[in-house]
Assembly symmetry: C2
Homo-oligomer: 134 residues x 2
């Protein structure tokens, strides 16, 4: 059902510092920050040869990242994102098996312009899982 590891999401308290760490210290290309108000985040992607990291900083008071960063002030691994060929078919199969979809249950448009949705971490080994239409 799932395909490529599209990215690993890492929540950070300071996106500029996080970008500098990956770009300058670890020597990897990093994209310019992009605000995504409908998700409550500002994101930069770290472009590794075979996958990406998504560095996420809270945007706005209602950002879903704020509670995570209160528990993890230095930042931390936040989610993994897998590509699927058909996000509706994948969702429906997982829901039939008992998995829970977060929020409305309907896909939203994500950072790459493709539909995404999030699955409950309790159903996936304590890991927040994002599915993204390939």
């Amino acid at each position: 059902m799932i395909g490529r590891l599209n990215h690993v999401g890492i929540a950070v308290p300071d996106l500029a510092k996080a970008c500098a760490l990956y770009r300058d210290t670890l020597g990897v290309p990093v994209t310019a920050p992009a605000e995504m108000p409908e998700h409550g985040v500002t994101v930069s992607f770290v472009e590794l040869p075979n996958s990406k990291l998504e560095l996420l900083e809270p945007l706005g008071d209602a950002s879903p990242l704020r509670a995570f960063l209160e528990k993890n002030p230095a930042g931390g691994m936040h989610h993994v994102c897998y590509e699927v060929e058909d996000i509706i078919a994948a969702r429906d199969t997982l829901v039939q098996g008992g998995a829970r979809v977060l929020s409305s249950g309907e896909p939203k448009i994500g950072a790459g312009g493709k539909p995404v949705l999030f699955l409950h971490p309790k159903d996936f080994l304590g890991t927040l899982v994002e599915l993204k239409q390939a």
Copy 2:
């Protein structure tokens, strides 16, 4: 300095159940469990098209995963592993920049038979980082 995302490490309380989730529910090939007593873990790899997940279950009373699973009983994202061309050169450059290497500071042999070492999460955005000789 860093290259491919070799794998994402996910700590789990029950490796057999975790393997079944990825193999049967999510439809991805999963390797047979392998015990690594020197690391205190039993591991299976989830073989995604472009990278891997390393599912980790504690092995032995002194396993470094036990404290993590006490805080996260359902499991959770544990580390990311990046490939480097020269693990000693990478370590020395990072240490000169102020980063801390865990344990003895010397590489050990990891799951794929290659030298690995771990970097302090406080120096890497709250994320435990494994470096692996490519």
